[in-house]
């Protein structure tokens, strides 16, 4: 049995600052950020037009006066037009894994890299990582920020790193078996892939040495957490970040695992209604807007993440005073509008997990054969639930459809497919295919 225990220690004083002190620190840093942003032509022009200067920021409420920054702004200033420092002061360049259009790149100074490592160390530490552990990093290294962010965070703590990178799952399993890492860093879907491949190799994923894991890099659900924990006998922690801001390290779970603590000394996080752009209440879902308070190379002001989550300013049992954010439940731009109903793929995923017999591999296809939107959900059926009786399979389909209807309020066509037929993810899983545009 997994005897993993997290002692409730906290790495940095900033994580437990009294609220007033934290806000005072944020205000000072917000002014510094505005000052640094003056070196970026894009922001300088806006500030000039709006009459914004560092001195004009007198309270955190003034944040509302600052402009939003969007992905399109980054593309317009490709490749590094939003940098506030000289090219020579950049120590590293990373890129977004942007699936569509021009890629976006972010620059880091040496100081940025130092702080980034510390941010990642904080949440890893909160999630139990100590110097005595060995960690397998199965995130891709390279331009993608995930691998390096966690890598340097682990190094900051002093634990041993196995930089396995992503891909070649069979080899990953051999390495886990031989080198006995305590923890795994990957995307949650890749962890499921590891479990599945392990079983096909007659290796029991529960018997592996892994005791805990820090997952990020893609959206996942609470049910998926239970599934991974049951299949691999480990504790799964969630963390959040995005490369446009810095990469992983914006927030992460503590041992209580009731939301991810935001590193508020480095980031000001707002939660807004994506339509009205007005702030939403605590616990209410909205789009996260992030201002980086300490980034040197690339100060980012009110970046619209498109990630849908909620905030919680209440106290946490762990003793950290920083606000927490919920897991991301969808993206304001991947939100599917099906016959006028807002649907997040995560809602469908959640529903699938509640039906016994389905595997966590699924694909949502949205099409418009005539004038009406149609959603087809392809779900792999677990081998032991395959039945030669048509009626039983019919039954399973109906149960899935009912669950989806209850969760997302839409009617879908459920297609059961054989195990191992949907494409497996090596990194971020493709869960939605929207064919509506393509069908003209």
């Amino acid at each position: 049995m997994n005897e993993f225990v997290v002692d409730n220690q906290i790495l940095d004083r900033e994580e437990t600052l009294p609220r007033t002190e934290m806000e005072a620190l944020q205000l000072v840093r917000l002014r510094e950020t505005v000052a640094r942003a003056m070196n970026v032509p894009f922001y300088r022009a806006i500030f000039k037009r709006e009459g914004i200067t560092p001195d004009s920021i007198t309270s955190l409420d003034d944040l509302k006066r600052l402009p939003f920054t969007t992905k399109a702004d980054m593309r317009d200033n490709y490749p590094l037009g939003l940098c506030a420092v000289q090219r020579g002061d950049l120590a590293r360049i990373h890129g977004s894994s942007g699936t569509t259009g021009k890629p976006t790149f972010v620059g880091y100074t040496r100081e940025d890299l130092r702080m980034w490592a510390r941010m990642c160390a904080r949440f890893l530490y909160a999630g139990g990582l100590r110097a005595c552990h060995t960690v397998q990093v199965s995130f891709g290294y390279g331009l993608f920020t995930g691998g390096f962010g966690l890598h340097y965070g682990i190094e900051e703590i002093g634990a041993s790193i196995i930089p396995a990178s992503s891909g070649n799952t069979t080899r990953q399993i051999h390495i886990i078996r031989d080198l006995q890492p305590d923890a795994l860093i990957s995307t949650p879907s890749y962890a499921l892939n590891i479990a599945e491949v392990a079983r096909s190799m007659d290796v029991d994923p529960r018997a592996l040495s892994l005791r805990f894991a820090h997952f990020g890099g893609e959206m996942w659900t609470e049910d998926m957490r239970h599934k991974i924990e049951a299949e691999m006998d480990l504790f799964a922690f969630n963390n959040y970040g995005l490369s446009e801001i810095i990469g992983p390290g914006i927030s992460g779970e503590c041992a209580a695992r009731t939301g991810m603590h935001i590193q508020e000394d480095h980031f000001l996080v707002e939660c807004i209604n994506p339509d009205t752009l007005e702030p939403v209440q605590d616990f209410e879902y909205g789009e996260l807007v992030i201002t980086a308070l300490t980034r040197q190379a690339m100060p980012m002001i009110r970046y619209r993440t498109r990630d849908i989550a909620s905030l919680d300013a209440g106290p946490c049992v762990c003793g950290r005073t920083t606000r927490r954010m919920s897991r991301v439940i969808g993206r304001s731009d991947d939100m599917l509008i099906i016959r006028g109903v807002n649907v997040f793929p995560s809602q469908i995923e959640e529903a699938l997990f509640q039906v016994e017999g389905t595997s966590p591999h699924y694909l949502i296809e949205v099409s418009r054969p005539g004038s009406l939107d149609q959603v087809t959900v392809k779900v792999e059926v677990r081998p032991e639930f395959f039945s030669d009786k048509m009626s039983e399979m019919q039954n399973l389909r109906e149960r899935i459809d009912r669950k989806i209807q209850a969760a997302a309020n839409i009617h879908t066509q459920v297609e059961l497919v054989a195990p191992q037929t949907l494409e497996r993810s090596m990194g971020k899983a493709v869960r939605v295919v929207d064919l509506r545009g393509r069908q003209g």
Partner: protein, 443 residues
């Protein structure tokens, strides 16, 4: 700035100081470190202690650098036999990184690093970059693969320690490599020479003229390459192409690197002690004579290597380098001592065949490679002894095994071979080891 003191055209980085140590001082430092590493290994690595004891020696017997010949050799198979942690000289709590050999499949080789090892590794990589004329103002595109392979992270930490801007692009996606090289104005690239040739070939197809980009240096390694290749690459990309040498068992990239003279690779002798031996007699040969390179890590903590037989054939230069570095140079690696053979124009190492065989059943069988020629074409036959682990009592099982083995070999060396299963102990042994290659081709 004093930091950019120029020496015969090479940028000087303060960390490069040891490259220029007076020779007597360098030898003293080597002796001192050699004694320490022998003691460390003797105290912490059972295999090494056992071998010392078999020879009736203790670390105290090691008094001068000439005494290196008293010490046992370490070979690659020792790493496999003690896999995964058998050669570690530090407790896991002090180990902060593990890497594994780039072996495609089968049992890998694991190497470990302490924090201090990583620092040393980064410092030797800085010295490599400095020898290539790079400094903190450069933008280094690192196209070595990141991950368990030491090339990617080794070059990455070095470039970072140099203070340059790193583009950690990793390997693959040639079009993207070219796009970034152009968009960011990369001034240097790290990758294998053959991969850079692909970039050189692809760029014109994308309408990019490499000669017009800011790219000025290439740090090429991880595979042997030739002067001819350099003559081809340099004018086509308008860069200086430098050879870098290293191997995971020792530290990764950063064991030796060319300087601006591009004539021989300077070995960072304060950390890696080189010897050249006759691979048959195993006796050291004088500087200037060709033989197999044997390296001892002088400062490695987590996994010291004593007299590691690299299998690489080279010679140490006898004359001083005009660049002023006092650390010795070795000739570029031209071939290996482990019976490499050339078949239909392709270099094949027995170790590749071994790797392919290991990939199938995970055991190390005895095998022999038999080369024949029917008058027109070379043929390779691989004889593999059947072991109890792989023996099944039906024909189909055995034929399947044959097929799997030959497919695995073909995957790795890209040549179809005939695979023949033979009885145990039927392959001729010499000193307990099977002779790996039997060349029956008419010369």
């Amino acid at each position: 700035m004093s930091e950019f003191w120029h020496d015969a055209g090479c940028a000087f980085h303060p960390v490069s100081g040891p490259d220029y140590l007076p020779v007597t001082q360098l030898r003293q430092l080597q002796l001192h470190r050699f004694q320490a590493v022998v003691k460390r290994s003797y105290d912490n690595v059972p295999l090494f202690r056992q071998r010392m004891e078999e020879r009736g020696i203790t670390p105290a017997d090691f008094r001068t650098l000439e005494d290196t010949r008293l010490l046992p050799f370490t070979v690659k198979i020792d790493l496999r036999d003690t896999y995964p942690f058998g050669l570690f000289a530090s407790p896991m709590s002090e180990i902060v990184r593990l890497h594994a050999s780039s072996g495609t499949t089968g049992k890998p080789i694991v190497v470990a690093y302490t924090q201090e090892d990583l620092r040393v590794w980064a410092s030797v990589m800085v010295r490599c970059f400095a020898a290539c004329g790079l400094d903190r103002g450069d933008i280094i595109q690192n196209a070595y693969g990141y991950g368990l392979f030491t090339g990617g992270l080794g070059a990455h930490y070095g470039a970072e320690a140099l203070g340059a801007t790193v583009i950690p692009i990793s390997g693959g996606n040639t079009d993207r490599q070219i796009m970034l090289m152009k968009d960011f104005g990369a001034t240097a690239i790290c990758c294998t020479p053959s991969y850079f040739l692909r970039i050189v070939e692809r760029a014109p197809e994308l309408g990019v003229d490499l000669r017009k980009l800011p790219l000025k240096a290439g740090v090429f390694g991880a595979e042997p390459w030739t002067e001819e290749m350099r003559k081809r690459i340099e004018p086509e990309a308008n860069i200086k192409a430098y050879d870098i040498y290293g191997l995971s068992e020792i530290i990764g990239p950063g064991v030796a690197n060319e300087c601006c003279e591009q004539h021989g690779l300077h070995i960072f002798e304060d950390h890696f002690y080189p010897e050249i031996i006759d691979p048959k007699t195993l006796e050291p040969v004088p500087d200037g004579t060709e033989g197999e390179l044997v390296l001892t890590t002088l400062s490695k903590q987590a996994m010291p290597m004593i007299r590691y037989r690299t299998r690489d054939i080279t010679a140490l230069f006898t004359e001083a380098c005009p660049c002023g570095r006092t650390v010795r140079r070795m000739r570029r690696i031209s071939r290996r001592s482990d019976d490499m053979f050339i078949i239909r124009g392709v270099n094949v190492y027995p170790s590749q065949i071994e790797e392919a065989l290991l990939a199938v059943e995970g055991t190390a069988p005895h095998y022999q490679i038999v080369l024949t020629n029917d008058g027109t074409m070379d043929d390779v036959e691989v004889h593999v002894e059947v072991t109890p682990e792989v023996f099944g009592d039906t024909i189909s099982v055995m034929e399947n095994l044959q097929k799997k083995l030959s497919a695995s070999i073909e995957r790795i060396i890209n040549i179809r071979v005939k695979l023949r299963l033979v009885e145990p102990n039927s392959i001729q042994r010499s000193e307990g080891k099977a002779k790996r290659v039997l060349d029956m081709r008419k010369k």
